[in-house]
């Protein structure tokens, strides 16, 4: 890594103009305490050994890097590999971060962890981490999301977590984050907030990235072993941006094409999407400075995506920074394109992807044919699609 990126972020969490800490003063001591604890334990042999052992024996790492032969033949062009984060315990990459933070919270002497969740994946992962670490757990979820993801709500309750319905604002992920921040502000002395993505106030963007960067570390070794060379292109979906940065981070110095795929919803021109880079502008939201979907008065706009995990008004600050450096490029995929890719992967490979990950597959379908046959693409298959089956059936007018 070059020296410039080594100094990023600065001591206050700034990635260039992005990031920082925009929170009520009440939370500042907790953020400083968290930053110190994270710095200490991220170098602590005992902590790293515990995390490493659980990554292997509990999460099931390393996850496979699977050559999707039939998909490759079907599309034509570049060889397509899937990094199988869908095979992680709880069905998505979210557990990499949630378990790491739960272990950290326990070492910090916290008795309780809280989290927000949209689709429910991060909520399930956090409830799992809490059950494993023996911590009390409360998950905030918008009432609209609870309706769409009732299976995950029940899973969290089975895992011993309290699921609290958020009935204000748009009743979705951003409102759940507001409510989790309010809880943290109130119970900061005994509670740790397990933020689910590379967003929010420093040190969350750095800490979550580090817990997720194992994805890319493994993929780098696996592809060199399989192909004898590094890949030509990496593709991942971007909601907050944790699975994408998790894959990309180990390849940043390699000068490889990296593409982040945002949710295009019903299309950018419709205004109903969650493509922050295509339709947003610089703003300050939920703890950091980043690209934000907002109106001229600085109020945050409603977003839309068929995939709840990408349906968020802002994006991790490091993504903005890496975009400015031309390290990562960003594009977007519509609901319809993602739904087609969702079905295609099931048919071609026998793998039902999460709707989030289907966005990455959809973009691959667009660009792979134009690439030479010896070139290699790695897609981060960030989660499995079980959670989406009911919603997809509903969209297609099928009663289960």
């Amino acid at each position: 890594m070059n020296t410039k990126t080594n100094k990023i972020p600065d001591s206050k969490g700034h990635f260039g103009t992005y990031g920082g800490r925009f929170v009520p003063e009440t939370l500042m001591p907790a953020l400083i305490e968290l930053e110190k604890a994270y710095r200490k334990y991220s170098r602590d042999k005992d902590f790293l050994a515990e995390l490493g052992s659980l990554q292997k024996n509990y999460i099931g790492r390393p996850t496979p890097l699977y050559f999707a032969r039939k998909l490759t033949e079907l599309i034509g062009g570049a060889k397509i590999y899937l990094k199988r984060e869908d095979l992680c315990h709880t069905g998505a990459h979210k557990i990499n971060n949630a378990l790491g933070q739960a272990l950290l919270a326990k070492r910090m002497g916290k008795k309780r962890i809280i989290a927000e969740t949209g689709a429910g994946q991060h909520g399930v992962a956090t409830a799992t981490g809490a059950a494993h670490a023996g911590l009390e757990c409360e998950i905030y979820m918008g009432s609209e999301d609870m309706r769409r993801q009732s299976l995950n709500v029940y899973k969290m309750r089975l895992l011993g977590a309290k699921v609290t319905e958020v009935n204000v604002g748009s009743k979705t992920l951003k409102d759940a984050i507001n409510e989790a921040l309010r809880d943290w502000t109130t119970n900061v002395l005994n509670t740790h907030y397990v933020l689910g993505t590379v967003f929010g106030p420093h040190p969350f963007p750095v800490m979550v990235r580090d817990f997720q960067s194992i994805i890319g570390k493994e993929a780098r070794q696996q592809i060199v072993k399989a192909e004898g060379k590094l890949p030509d292109c990496l593709i991942a979906c971007v909601g907050g941006g944790s699975n994408s940065i998790g894959l990309f981070y180990a390849f940043l110095k390699d000068n490889i094409k990296m593409i982040g795929v945002e949710a295009g919803g019903h299309g950018i021109e419709s205004g109903e999407h969650a493509a922050r880079f295509a339709g947003g502008s610089l703003g300050v939201f939920q703890g950091c400075k980043s690209y934000l979907l907002q109106n001229d008065d600085g109020n945050v706009l409603g977003t839309h995506s068929v995939s709840a995990g990408l349906d968020y008004a802002s994006v991790g600050p490091e993504h903005c920074y890496l975009r400015d450096l031309n390290k990562i490029e960003y594009t977007n995929i519509t609901d319809d394109e993602a739904l087609k890719a969702f079905e295609l992967l099931g048919n071609a490979e026998g793998i039902i992807p999460a709707l989030e990950s289907a966005h990455a597959i959809a973009h691959t379908i667009k660009i792979a044919p134009a690439m030479p046959k010896h070139s290699v693409i790695i897609i981060n298959l960030s989660g499995r699609g079980d959670k989406d089956v009911q919603e997809v059936a509903k969209i297609k007018g099928i009663t289960l």
């Binding site: 925009f22 929170v23 009520p24 003063e25 500042m28 907790a30 604002g169 409102d175 109020n299």
Partner: protein, 256 residues
């Protein structure tokens, strides 16, 4: 000398404390705000805080969250609040403080906002999600155009944070009485007294206390240890129910 400083000096001379009520601009309707401000003045408010509605008010409890929603529904924006202040200033000299989240200010343009706020007759600004560490530019423009910057302290604040907030604040310092959001229950405990004492040892700037003060008894207890008492949720709640606030605000004034 600016209006906020004058108010605290005058009160101190008379051994009195400041009564600082909060209302949401444009709630229940934009044309009612001016009348509410004049009612508050008549009840003896020394400084008035005007809330600026925002889509994601993460430091506010349910009562004020709903006021944000109502005001946004009424089409109120930061720009319109500034116009309201200009209108209020035609007839009132009471110090006015805006309480706004940071993004509307950031989107407006920091210098443009500070300039426009001062021009409109705003005396100070409270931004609950802006800490001094991130406020360098805002503070510089506020000093240039003479706008008070009121930062917040909390029961969790360490001495290092207290010093930072004191240095960045002008007008007064806003001490958040509880670890929590607006409208929580007040806890008059040793932490509050101890933190206020340690703040007072470090500065001669006035310290006003807010969050959780919901009746004359609370107000009286807080006034005994602070220079000012800020009351929001309970007033906003009465307004939302269409009730008259005069009885409450007068009893708060008497208690302070």
């Amino acid at each position: 000398m600016n209006r906020i400083e004058q108010v605290f000096r005058k009160l101190k001379k008379n051994s009195k404390k400041a009564f600082i009520p909060y209302i949401m601009a444009g709630d229940p309707a934009p044309d009612v705000t001016k009348k509410l401000v004049s009612d508050l003045e008549a009840s003896g408010a020394d400084i008035i805080e005007l809330g600026v509605p925002f889509s994601d008010p993460l430091a506010d409890g349910p009562t004020i969250q709903r006021a944000h929603e109502r005001a946004l529904h009424n089409g109120v924006t930061l720009r319109k609040v500034l116009a309201l202040v200009r209108d209020i200033r035609q007839t009132s000299q009471t110090p006015l403080i805006l309480m706004t989240y940071y993004n509307p200010v950031f989107k407006f343009g920091i210098e443009a906002f500070v300039k426009e706020a001062v021009h409109s007759g705003v005396d100070g600004v409270i931004i609950p999600d802006l800490i001094p560490d991130e406020a360098e530019e805002f503070i510089a423009f506020a000093r240039q155009y003479k706008l008070d910057t009121i930062f917040l302290l909390a029961p969790t604040s360490t001495e290092d944070r207290i010093r930072k907030v004191i240095n960045a604040s002008t007008g007064f310092i806003y001490y958040v009485s509880i670890t929590g959001i607006t409208g929580s229950k007040l806890l008059m405990d040793e932490t509050m007294k101890n933190t206020l004492t340690s703040i007072k040892q470090l500065t001669r700037k006035p310290v006003a206390v807010g969050f959780g003060i919901s009746n004359p008894e609370d107000a009286s207890a807080v006034a005994s240890v602070a220079d000012g008492v800020i009351v929001g949720s309970v007033i906003v709640k009465l307004i939302s129910e269409g009730k008259d606030i005069a009885e409450l605000t007068r009893s708060l004034r008497r208690a302070i």
